[in-house]
């Protein structure tokens, strides 16, 4: 019986795919590999993987096409491989439903960590969901969704309504990179433009301060310049 997680790797560079396969194989995952968009579609439908790692630059079609194809009827976690300079591509992929991205070139430890987080996050939402009256706990941070209260090591943090909404949203998507526009849409019901991004950044600055974070030591909320925030 095989109860390993199945990971579909969609990547056309043989050297990268063989490296990723080795790394993930050693980490205890079963890797199936597709080199093109069309092949990946077939593989996805027949193997039903637990996670997809997708390189956006594929020979036959744009990786975004595959992303849309998968997201049409599946919530499987998708990690996108992207180059450093393409913040726009990252944001686009995340907004199209990707859960995370790994920037090329990446270390093997980083990749395995991302895969693990995405799988765990996925299981979390599947089993527990985002229950409004549930509780959330991450290290010293606890959130009481019912009472809309947040505690850090048993001490309550006084957040404003908006700040609480942001923190709660990030916690509901633990481990997932949330883009500016995704957060703004949920918290303010607004589309992302420069003033609303600024509003978000002002609130985030306050949240970080209240959580006792300092530059380089953001314990709960990681920020990715030009992309968004992630709770982890």
């Amino acid at each position: 019986m095989n109860n390993k997680y199945k990971i579909l790797l969609v990547e056309d560079e043989p050297s990268i795919s063989s490296l990723v396969s080795t790394v993930l194989g050693n980490a205890g995952y079963q890797v199936i590999h597709a080199e093109s968009c069309s092949f990946a579609k077939t593989m996805f439908s027949s193997y039903v993987p637990d996670l997809v790692i997708l390189d956006l630059g594929l020979p036959d079609e744009d990786g975004m096409v595959l992303l849309d194809f998968i997201r049409r009827d599946s919530l499987v976690p998708i990690i996108v491989l992207s180059a450093r300079t393409d913040e726009k591509d990252k944001v686009m992929a995340l907004d199209a439903g990707a859960n995370d991205y790994v920037t090329k070139p990446f270390g093997s430890a980083e990749l395995v960590a991302r895969v693990r987080t995405s799988l765990r996050f996925n299981r979390r939402t599947n089993l527990e969901g985002c229950l409004p009256d549930g509780r959330f706990a991450l290290r010293d941070l606890t959130i009481d969704y019912g009472a809309r209260r947040v505690f850090l090591a048993d001490e309550e943090i006084k957040f404003t309504q908006t700040e609480y909404n942001i923190v709660a949203l990030l916690s509901e998507h633990l481990g997932k990179m949330m883009t500016y526009s995704a957060i703004i849409k949920t918290v303010w019901g607004d589309t992302a433009h420069e003033t609303s991004i600024k509003k978000l950044q002002v609130n985030m600055a306050n949240i970080r301060k209240k959580l006792g974070s300092r530059p380089g030591e953001n314990n709960y909320i990681k920020n990715e310049l030009g992309v968004g925030y992630r709770m982890e």
């Binding site: 913040e87 070139p105 420069e194 950044q201 530059p215 380089g216 920020n223 030009g226």
Partner: protein, 354 residues
């Protein structure tokens, strides 16, 4: 483009109107009429000099001739080109306009050519520096890997792990080099303007420190940034790279450094970033060309730690310049090097073309 056309038109009109009024005053009040043609020739010359292309100069010369003919030569307030003097002044003005325009066009062309050559020169320098800087780590990586493949059994465990660590370090270096090159080409690739978005200073610094810590976990950085939220319009990824480059430069080159400080403060509408170390400082002879070129490091031993800092720092300079800021390096009185660069905290409405 539209703006310059509008500017040129208004310039032409105002110069001509002023000249016309001036000549009218001269004649009506002081009864001087002989210099009118000369004054108009001067006006035409000015228009040709200050506007773009031939059009405005030629229009000005035609208008000028007509004005002189109409208002200032006999018969007054009537057009009459049958008189020889009038024809001559018309020809003179048109010739002046043509010649001036030709000259200014030539000068502009020459200047464009000169900046193009300079750019070419920069590019050639960059290429040379890059191929040098890429070859060294590649040699190590290639050499180590082939050794590991071919003579695996001959190596001790210790040698093998040392080689692997070297390979990793050199790959790290290559990765950063490529990042730098990408940034420069992003800026250099013609009319692509830097897209500035308001960025929260503490998020920027956070990202920088996280990146830096990942690479140099043992080197602490003392931070001194404003408590209040500061928003600075910038291409955050590029500015992040500038900060990481300068911090990294300190780790690589400031010998004997025990403290590395990053301070940011605002002065009016300018944010000043200051990176200071208490290491060995920068040799005076390379200080002036630190950002400009890819200086030769041949006098220093071929130690991999001493590798060319030129690319990283000139990338910094390119990025800061493209943001309209300023970057400088100096040696502090109490020892160590200080790097300082500025960014505007508020975007000018009338954005400058980069």
């Amino acid at each position: 483009m539209k703006k310059t056309v509008l500017k040129d038109i208004s310039l032409t009109v105002s110069i001509l109107v002023l000249t016309f009024v001036f000549c009218l005053i001269l004649r009506e009040v002081f009864e001087i009429g002989e210099q009118v043609t000369a004054i108009f020739v001067f006006a035409v010359f000015l228009v040709s000099l200050l506007t773009d292309g031939y059009t405005y100069g030629l229009i000005a010369s035609v208008l000028g001739t007509t004005a002189v003919n109409y208002a200032f030569t006999f018969p007054y307030f009537a057009i009459n080109f049958t008189i020889h003097e009038n024809i001559i002044s018309a020809i003179v003005m048109i010739t002046v306009a043509m010649l001036t325009c030709m000259l200014t066009a030539q000068i502009k062309k020459h200047e464009a050519l000169k900046t193009e050559t300079e750019k070419e020169h920069m590019r050639a320098n960059l290429l040379r520096a890059v191929s040098h800087d890429l070859r060294t780590p590649l040699t190590t990586i290639y050499g180590s890997v082939t050794t590991l493949i071919d003579d695996e059994s001959m190596l001790t465990e210790e040698q093998r792990s040392k080689m692997l660590v070297d390979i990793k370090n050199d790959s790290d270096w290559l990765i950063r080099m490529v990042e730098n090159l990408l940034s420069v080409t992003k800026i250099d690739s013609g009319e692509v303007k830097i897209i500035k978005t308001p960025t929260a200073l503490d998020e920027l610094i956070d990202s920088v420190i996280v990146k830096f810590k990942k690479r140099y976990p043992t080197q602490p950085v003392t931070l001194d940034i404003p408590e209040s939220l500061v928003m600075i319009p910038m291409d955050a990824i590029l500015i992040e790279q500038v900060l990481v480059n300068i911090l990294e430069n300190a780790v690589r080159h400031a010998e004997g450094m025990t403290e590395l400080r990053l301070k940011v403060f605002t002065l009016g509408k300018t944010a000043i970033f200051e990176i200071a170390d208490n290491g060995c400082g920068i040799r005076n002879e390379i200080l002036p060309k630190l950002f400009g070129g890819y200086f030769d490091t041949t006098p220093t031993p071929a130690d991999s730690k001493k590798r060319n800092a030129g690319i990283g720092l000139s990338v910094c300079a390119t990025i800061i310049k493209a943001h309209g800021g300023d970057i400088k390096a100096e040696n502090a009185k109490e020892g160590g090097a200080v790097f300082r660069f500025t960014l505007a905290t508020e975007e000018d409405i009338d954005e400058q073309q980069i």
